[in-house]
């Protein structure tokens, strides 16, 4: 089990004042949702938390060690990230793609063994894409590719799961399936931290929420405290109607 802490973290969004420094403690069992308008820095934050982008100031700590002091391989064994955009310059099959999740666990001379293969197939089955395992990635639909990307993260099996809009391109059934999967992962002691665009997914599945404003302001805390209609309306500059369904608040944008 791993914990991710930010110490006076200011992410580096070009041309923006420093804003509010982040002091979050993201712990095992928690499901975090980052909400904010376009360009608020959600992806930048996620990449900074993964150590892929330098912070403007402050630091990110993985189990109280600063990320910058750790080897990439050590980080990748504890922390994984699903990107919003993926490039595939060379053709690759679905199974090959899931198997690269094993990379941080294998030494240079190792090749993937039966156990790695089994993990990859299991992850693909969980995401309902195992029947596509021999297909080339560039022949799949957007939603199928998104599920393959999440299956790659499951194959990597890190303690901390960072996801950039994991429900992008997914149909309703698979949105629910993926969110349930992430909640189960947190239930098993993993830490989940994701950017979301859908307030209602955050309201139903997240234990904690971070609101990220365009000007660099931020506030965070348990989901039920954060999902205040007034705060959300200010966040998106959009009037909302709140109703309740299935035991959770549902936010509907007003159409004017």
């Amino acid at each position: 089990m791993s914990t991710l802490n930010t110490r006076d973290l200011v992410i580096n969004v070009p041309g923006r004042p420093d804003g509010f420094a982040l002091n979050m403690s993201i712990e095992p069992g928690q499901v975090w949702g980052v909400l904010g308008p376009n360009g608020a820095g959600k992806t930048t934050l996620l990449h900074t938390l993964a150590g892929l982008l330098p912070a403007r100031s402050g630091q990110v700590q993985l189990n109280s060690a600063p990320l910058t002091a750790l080897k990439r391989r050590v980080i990748a064994q504890q922390l994984g990230l699903v990107f919003q955009e993926r490039q595939d310059s060379f053709p690759a099959t679905v199974l090959e793609t899931a198997l690269i999740g094993r990379h941080p666990w294998l030494s240079p001379w190792d090749s993937e063994q039966g156990e790695d293969q089994r993990r990859a197939e299991q992850a693909l089955t969980t995401l309902d894409v195992n029947h596509l395992s021999d297909r080339l990635l560039n022949t799949l639909s957007g939603g199928e590719r998104q599920r393959v990307a999440i299956a790659t993260l499951m194959t990597q099996n890190p303690d901390i799961l960072l996801l950039d809009e994991p429900t992008n391109h997914l149909d309703l059934h698979h949105q629910v399936k993926v969110m349930n999967l992430l909640r189960d992962q947190a239930g098993a002691g993993k830490t989940v931290f994701m950017c979301l665009h859908d307030l209602n997914l955050a309201a139903r599945w997240c234990t904690h929420v971070l609101l990220l404003y365009t000007n660099g302001d931020a506030c965070w805390g348990p989901a039920k405290n954060m999902l205040e209609p007034a705060a959300l309306e200010r966040l998106y500059n959009q009037k909302l109607i709140t109703v309740e369904a299935d035991g959770a608040p549902v936010f509907v944008p007003v159409s004017f």
Partner: protein, 319 residues
């Protein structure tokens, strides 16, 4: 997959045997076998071991070096059209060599100068593309193409001011010609060492092919890896160009064709490129020696004649 490498290995041996047997004097398989066993007539021994074998090995080494360098650069730039020739490394080497020839230097200086030219070209291309901090593949490729055009102009200028009696040697060098190889060993040894060194990095390269961010997220130290590939690919190119002049398109067509057949696992593609690149150049050189024998064509003509249509076909197919 090891079967694929084994068949390529056998194919390589067969091409070497063919190259030894064919030529102005055709050697029968029985005579070839006798020489391999250390027997046979003095004529055959001299012909095979002192004349044809070094040239064949030089062709094999050069082809393998160019193909591996191409495969590495394609992963580095995440662009299947990258290769040492397109990126202007061969051009830089050619300028180095021609400069030395123009000044009437000996073969050793010509080789050294070609090597320096290739390294200078690499530093120039990667340095210019890297200059402002962003090092995007398309920018690198574009810089390479423009620098290659620059080398082309310098070469033309040098040819224009060269006394005509020196021209034939220079032209042959420009088109690539294995018969100019002084010794096959630098190419063969560098190829073998490079393939052994690169194998533990091959899985890293597979991950790098998915993009630098994804690779970093999966535990690859991207910048050190990129620099390693870039230095290694330049060294391989420089060695190849120093051995046999600037031979185009081997680095482009060999890895690409292998990817179409074997997929894009670098643990297979890199050794397979070494074997298939070597085989291709041995066969092309055999063709160059025998097509209009006793006249000899520069092998670069054959590879370019094969490479240009392939390149255009690939361009046409890629969106």
């Amino acid at each position: 997959m090891t079967r694929a490498l084994l068949s390529l290995g056998l194919l390589a041996l067969a091409s070497v045997a063919l190259a030894l047997a064919l030529g102005s004097v055709t050697v029968s398989p029985a005579d070839l076998w006798q020489v391999i066993q250390g027997e046979g007539s003095t004529l055959h021994r001299t012909l095979l071991l002192d004349l044809r074998l070094p040239r064949t090995l030089a062709a094999f080494g050069t082809g393998g070096l160019l193909a591996v360098a191409g495969a590495l650069m394609q992963v580095l730039l995440r662009n299947p059209l990258a290769d040492p020739y397109v990126l202007g490394l061969s051009g830089g080497a050619a300028v180095g060599a021609l400069l030395a020839m123009l000044m009437g230097m000996g073969t050793l200086i010509i080789s050294g100068s070609a090597f320096a030219g290739a390294m200078l070209a690499t530093v120039l291309v990667f340095g210019l593309a890297h200059g402002t901090g962003s090092w995007t593949p398309s920018r690198l490729l574009l810089t390479g193409v423009v620098v290659a055009a620059g080398w082309g102009a310098v070469i033309t200028l040098m040819l224009a001011i060269t006394p005509s009696y020196k021209l034939p040697g220079m032209l042959y060098w420009l088109m690539g010609d294995v018969s100019y190889a002084r010794s096959p060993w630098p190419a063969v040894v560098v190829l073998a060492v490079a393939v052994v060194l690169i194998m533990p990095l091959a899985r890293n390269l597979n991950v790098l092919a998915r993009g630098p961010m994804q690779a970093a997220a999966l535990g690859v130290s991207v910048r050190p890896l990129e620099w390693t590939i870039y230095v290694l690919a330049s060294l391989l190119t420089a060695t190849a160009v120093t051995t046999a002049g600037s031979i185009g398109f081997v680095g482009l067509i060999v890895p690409h064709m292998l990817r179409l057949i074997l997929g894009n696992d670098q643990r297979i593609i890199l050794p397979a490129s070494a074997l298939a690149g070597g085989t291709l150049l041995v066969l092309a050189d055999t063709l160059a020696r025998t097509m209009i024998a006793p006249e000899q064509l520069p092998v670069g003509v054959i590879t370019a004649l094969l490479g240009v249509p392939t390149f255009l076909y690939l361009l046409h197919r890629s969106r």
